[in-house]
């Protein structure tokens, strides 16, 4: 049944209709309202039933015979009360057997006059007479309702554009011993009907106010004496909150309910017209968590055992949006803001929040069993999938993005995994990759020098970039030391190809050209340093070069394969001849770490991963300064560096000043953050699969240059946008279609072949529940997904698209709205 239109636009139209009537009929508002004894049925009803609430005053029409006690009608079927409500502004009555509907109307200015008689809810008979339907119709043009028992009249109105809303109930078609007539009156001047069982009212209106009696449309059951004597409850609602009234706040709604008859049976809590919860016994309290920002209008509706319904007055609250600065902080430091993290950061402030994150315990990957390099024949299916591919590691990663409390570490480690790249394309034995990614967790907030050194010695990196089993030259013309790790260590992991100023801009030579930060001779020297290392010795084996593949622990040195000649390192620093493998490596890593490029080179990339693709040189410079010296003389302090990145003025504030600020969410981040922000339930499987389709198969980078280049420039622009390296026509569709899958296709089902799989799904119930009103639906998504950042153009476009979906298709409407918001570049680009 369609809820009566009570929004403000409808009221305005009603007034318009009313004024038209005035012109045509010559009846003034004052005349009807006050000049003659006002036919205020509300007063009659209230008076006659002894109600103590609302308007109590003189009525010229207090008639005691109307509801004279009668014997109970013999009813087969359920009898329900019919309520009458009155709109003083619309000068119109409305009738309903729906207590919920009635209870909500006072918010729009209607007054509940109370139950006035009873109908049968469904088919049945009254005093032995089969009951007939009392049809309810609605005109979307006139914004009013009409009731009739005449099927022909109902059909005629429907043909004329009225909407059939079903039967309000069932009435007897003829007079029986225990029923009273229901009359229909009409006032031509205002084109209003009135339905009443009140004989006196009928008489007064028809003789003194110009109403026309149009007949008796049926016979209904009068209220019992007890029901007439019943007094409705009194309800008032109060709201308390334990935190600031910002988005995500937890609220407690308490209804104070009293009833002289002491027969309250139910209290329903509403926010506007949205039911929040019901209680059938005291205390009448509901808890609200994760409240959305915006105006809240809380109402309690109390019912008693004899059918009286009473609304409290509205308790308005303004939930403030979380400051955009806090929202941005959570975008930068986690895989998506949640109500809880927003509340925390809002409460303690950005700096304290970052510090708390920096000092949070690690949420590790689960331990993975060591497995022999050659897969045992017995290891099939789940064993093979979990141990000899990165299937489980990818899932574990995504689960951490959703639930791990140390979100900042998760983000930083993910960034490190995209700088210090290893790839499952080279080696996908799971425990080795798990240990490597865990090492990045462990090192995220340590010292950059440790990252360089320990990553270098990890056997998985050794395997990927050929430092493992890298032998000294056999002879000047024979096999030479492998250059691979030496080159990428310098080019990708530490200093980059050009000499940099502290702000990340190029140093320039006298000819105006940038200066290479190393040359081939440096590569040759470093390739010699990086000789003499092999896989960690397997238990029971003897240390030797070309040791069997094993990723437990760090690589070990085999001195007779280490090049002990002197090497010239960066800055012409000479590492003397005769050094053993480990001290030679230590000197070389320290030499690289000391290079002035490291601060700006690394800081800029980390800024790009966390905050923005095009940081200003000044921003890079400020962070690099902290990298170079954390304030107490330590270089490479990761905590200080991350803190400087997140708390910099260029990252903070309610809105980024530069239109070019921001970063495209890369696939893993896009899928993880959408799921996290929408509170999806996920086992990670679909998220990793769809991310791979978008060009980012997690931990299977195509090359050591990561899934996309750090300095990629978006074609046709002057914007750096690393993630645009994998954003193209094909993946643009894949990305948009991800949101389609998550909405219209209800996400992804559990994989029955995987133990514990739950699929990936968003609970759309709450969105569907408000889909009747497109603007509310879109505002909810704006609040929940985009934290109020949706611009007006986008909001209007989505509302328009939602309106094109039938109002009955609440799922289609919710899907449409969330899909359109997700696929938008406003969401895909994080600012």
């Amino acid at each position: 049944m369609q809820q009566i239109k009570t929004d403000s636009s409808a009221l305005i139209v009603k007034r318009t209709v009313w004024r038209k009537s005035k012109v045509g009929g010559g009846v003034t508002e004052a005349h009807l309202d006050q000049a003659t004894p006002p036919p205020k049925l509300s007063r009659i009803a209230q008076y006659t039933r002894g109600v103590v609430l609302g308007i109590v005053g003189f009525s010229a029409f207090a008639v005691s015979t109307l509801y004279a006690p009668q014997a109970l009608a013999q009813v087969s079927g359920e009898a329900v009360m019919r309520y009458r409500v009155y709109s003083p502004t619309g000068k119109r009555h409305f009738y309903s057997t729906d207590k919920n509907e009635v209870g909500l109307l006072p918010q729009s200015g209607w007054q509940i006059e109370g139950p006035i008689y009873k109908l049968l809810k469904g088919t049945g008979s009254i005093d032995g007479v089969p009951a007939v339907p009392l049809y309810r119709l609605y005109s979307p043009i006139l914004f009013k309702h009409f009731w009739t028992t005449d099927p022909a009249e109902s059909a005629g109105l429907t043909a004329a554009g009225w909407v059939a809303e079903g039967a309000d109930g069932y009435v007897s078609p003829k007079k029986t011993a225990n029923t009273v007539p229901l009359h229909r009156l009409y006032l031509p001047s205002v084109r209003e009907h009135l339905w009443t069982t009140d004989e006196n009212e009928k008489t007064v209106l028809t003789t003194r106010a110009g109403w026309i009696f149009e007949g008796t449309i049926g016979f209904v059951i009068p209220l019992s004496a007890a029901e007439l004597a019943n007094r409705p409850p009194v309800a008032a609602v109060e709201v308390s909150a334990s935190t600031a009234l910002v988005t995500g706040a937890s609220l407690t709604l308490t209804a104070a309910v009293s009833d002289l008859d002491n027969n309250v049976t139910k209290v329903s809590f509403y926010d506007g017209y949205s039911l929040l919860g019901t209680k059938t016994s005291a205390p009448y309290v509901v808890e609200l968590t994760n409240s959305r920002f915006g105006q809240r209008n809380f109402v309690a509706v109390a019912e008693d055992s004899l059918g009286a319904v009473k609304s409290s007055t509205v308790y308005p609250i303004e939930i403030q949006p979380i400051p955009q600065d806090i929202v941005r902080l959570l975008k930068q430091s986690s895989f998506g803001p949640t109500p809880a993290t927003l509340q925390e950061a809002q409460t303690i402030g950005a700096a304290a929040y970052v510090d708390a994150q920096l000092n949070m315990p690690i949420t590790p990957y689960p331990a993975y069993a060591f497995m022999p390099q050659n897969k045992p024949d017995s290891c099939i299916d789940a064993c093979e999938r979990n141990n000899y591919s990165l299937y489980k590691l990818q899932n574990d990663f995504f689960i951490n993005t959703q639930t791990a409390p140390d979100q900042l570490r998760q983000r930083v480690a993910f960034a490190l995994s995209q700088i210090f790249v290893v790839s499952g394309n080279e080696e996908q034995i799971a425990y080795a990759n798990r240990n490597y990614q865990q090492l990045l967790f462990d090192l995220s907030f340590c010292n950059f020098n440790d990252i360089l050194y320990l990553v270098t010695l990890h056997p998985l990196m050794g395997r990927y970039l050929d430092m493992v089993n890298n032998a000294k030259a056999t002879s000047p013309t024979g096999v030479q030391p492998n250059e691979n790790y030496a080159r990428e260590l310098l080019q990708l992991f530490s200093i980059g190809i050009w000499e940099l100023n502290q702000d990340g801009t190029y140093k320039r030579g006298a000819d105006g050209n940038p200066i290479a930060s190393y040359d081939q001779a440096d590569i040759l020297n470093f390739s010699k340093v990086l000789t003499g290392w092999t896989y960690p010795t397997l238990a029971g084996s003897t240390p030797r070069f070309n040791s069997p593949t094993n990723y437990l622990g760090a690589m070990v040195q085999i001195e007779n394969q280490h090049d002990v000649t002197a090497k010239t390192l960066l800055g012409d620093v000479v590492s003397p001849a005769g050094l053993a493998a480990q001290p030679d490596l230590r000197r070389a890593i320290d030499n690289v770490f000391a290079h002035p490029n490291v601060g700006p080179f690394f800081s800029r990339q980390l800024i790009q991963h966390l905050v923005t693709s095009n940081p200003s040189p000044a921003y890079v410079g400020r962070v690099a300064a902290v990298f170079n010296n954390n304030g107490v003389g330590v270089r490479g302090d990761m905590k200080a560096t991350v803190r400087a990145i997140l708390l910099d003025a260029e990252a903070r504030g309610d809105a980024p000043a530069d239109p070019k600020f921001g970063r495209l969410r890369e696939p893993v981040h896009l899928t993880a953050s959408f799921a996290r922000t929408m509170g999806a339930a996920t086992d990670g499987i679909y998220l990793k699969n769809v991310s791979a389709q978008m060009g980012q198969n997690l931990f299977y980078s195509p090359t050591v240059f990561n899934y996309y280049p750090a300095d990629y420039v978006v074609p046709g622009t002057n914007l750096e946008g690393p993630q645009f390296g994998i954003y193209n026509a094909t993946t643009a569709f894949t990305r948009a279609n991800f949101f389609y899958q998550m909405t219209f296709n209800n996400g992804s089902n559990a994989d029955t072949g995987v133990a514990g799989s739950i699929g990936t799904k968003i609970d759309m119930t709450a969105l569907r529940s408000i889909a009747g009103e497109p603007w509310r639906l879109v505002d909810r998504i704006n609040s929940q997904l985009m934290f109020g950042s949706m611009n007006a153009q986008m909001r209007n476009a989505i509302i328009e698209a939602v309106n094109a979906v039938a109002s009955t298709d609440v799922a289609g409407r919710a899907n449409t709205a969330l899909y359109l918001a997700g696929q938008s570049m406003q969401f895909q680009v994080e600012r």
Partner: protein, 473 residues
């Protein structure tokens, strides 16, 4: 190592001279006049038969051309085997005489890697040529000049990202803003009328090669749908809800109204949407006349070349008279374990390219389609620890097609000597004797580029003696 997406020099350094203005500035007069609409392209004859396609087969990671094409003559082979010894683990054995091929002209004998029998056969029938020792150059350069730094070197030699960008852009110093395939498209795009599908297409994601200054490539999937889920079907009446949703997508993304990242993403998205109706039926079709040529081969490179063949098959649907395609095969960064890697990669590559040539025969366009390999760089002639090779420079490429003057090894095959005349150092990093500009200009001329087009496409071409190195006749 698989395919790398070409990055380029950090833009920040030149933040004031960016965008198209910056690009034009760097291109000099030729570029300026082109951008202003002068010296416009050769008119391409609008006849039904006038169709040409250029296919770039990029071998990511740096293919070791030294292992792809080898000298067969005994003395030359011995020089090879003296460095690439059997003990090094990367020696390719000299096969029997039946495997050797003889180059037209000087009559020298060569042989292809044993897993590249397809190349051998195509070479013999004159449909495949080898361009030897081609690479990135600013200007002609000798070993003495390289060592003395008396002539300009390309920047950042031996770096994957930089050398890949230089190969794809034919720009070896300074900012790299566009690819030479894309610049061909800039000049010849009018041949395709107002087709919603760009001239330059990639089956290997975003690539510098196909992005011009005024045109951009479109990255396509090799199969499956290319469109928006839930969009109205090609036939039937769309629902009001569908139409409203599609309309909202356009409005929301406010296509290109945003100067920042969102606008950049929306522009790419819009181009995809515009091309979707034409492309989707092709990529999602499971039937094609050329399927038989690719029966039984399913490597990534084969799938990409099959997709290229299907695009060519649909050239009239697309309204195209000129197409440039980018496909790739990764895995050539053979620092270690080179022989095993090559065995797989070359077998896939040879089979895929032969199938593609057969497909062009099926379509009757064998003489109108030319494919050329490219790669980051060559690899050190000297072996590296672990049966591998390191990053080097000059390299051999193959060119395949009915219009190719095949059966010949072009250019100057390098002297296989460490520290020799062709070596930049002592590890066998060949200094190229033919530049990417010359290699590309030869292909471009065949494709229909005029002399003035060449100046636009290869601004550095004038530094080299020849604009055409002959393999296209």
């Amino acid at each position: 190592m698989s395919n790398i997406i070409v990055p380029r020099r950090n833009f920040l350094a030149n933040a004031t001279a960016l965008g198209v203005g910056g690009a034009v500035q760097r291109l000099g007069l030729a570029g300026l006049s082109a951008a202003a609409g002068f010296g416009s392209s050769t008119a391409i004859a609008q006849t039904a038969n006038d169709y040409k396609a250029l296919v770039c087969v990029f071998l990511f990671g740096g293919n070791d051309g030294n292992a792809m094409v080898l000298p067969y003559d005994q003395a030359a082979y011995d020089a090879y085997a003296a460095v690439r010894t059997v003990a090094s683990g990367i020696n390719v054995a000299r096969p029997d005489a039946a495997q050797a091929v003889t180059s037209n002209g000087d009559g020298k004998q060569y042989f292809f890697h044993p897993n590249l029998g397809a190349f051998r056969d195509l070479f013999r029938i004159g449909k495949l040529a080898v361009q030897s020792n081609v690479g990135t150059l600013m200007e002609p350069l000798t070993r003495a000049q390289y060592v003395a730094r008396s002539k300009m070197r390309p920047e950042n030699l031996f770096s994957h990202s930089d050398q890949t960008a230089q190969w794809q852009s034919s720009t070896s110093r300074g900012d790299i803003l566009s690819g030479w395939g894309g610049r061909i498209a800039d000049r010849l795009t009018s041949a395709n009328g107002d087709s919603a599908v760009p001239l330059s297409l990639s089956f290997s994601g975003s690539q510098m090669f196909g992005n011009g200054i005024t045109t951009s490539l479109l990255a396509l999937p090799t199969n499956g749908n290319f469109g928006i889920a839930g969009a109205p079907a090609a036939t039937g009446t769309p629902s009001a809800a569908q139409l409203a949703r599609m309309s909202a997508i356009s409005k929301i993304n406010g296509f290109a109204n945003d100067a920042g990242m969102a606008g950049a993403g929306a522009t790419i998205f819009k181009r995809a949407l515009d091309a979707s109706a034409l492309i989707a039926p092709i990529t999602s079709s499971t039937t094609s006349a050329v399927r038989t040529s690719f029966t039984g081969i399913n490597s990534g490179i084969a799938n990409q070349l099959y997709a290229v063949a299907r695009m060519i098959e649909a050239r009239q649907t697309l309204g195209h008279k000129r197409d440039i395609f980018f496909v790739s095969q990764g895995g050539y960064d053979t620092h270690s374990g080179q022989p095993g890697a090559h065995a797989n990669l070359y077998a896939q590559l040879g089979a895929a390219m032969l199938a593609f040539y057969q497909a062009t025969l099926q379509l009757g366009v064998a003489n109108q389609v030319t494919s050329a390999t490219m790669s980051d760089f060559g690899r050190t002639f000297k072996p590296a620890s672990g049966a591998g090779t390191d990053h080097a420079w000059g390299n051999h490429q193959v060119v395949m097609g009915g219009a190719v003057q095949g059966g010949k090894v072009y250019g100057n095959f390098p002297v296989h000597a460490l520290g020799g005349v062709d070596d930049a150092g002592n590890e066998g990093r060949w200094i190229p004797t033919t530049s990417v500009d010359q290699f590309g200009a030869t292909l471009s001329t065949w494709f229909g580029a005029s002399n003035s087009d060449l100046d636009y496409i290869f601004p550095n071409l004038n530094r080299f003696a020849s604009r055409n190195v002959g393999f296209m006749g």
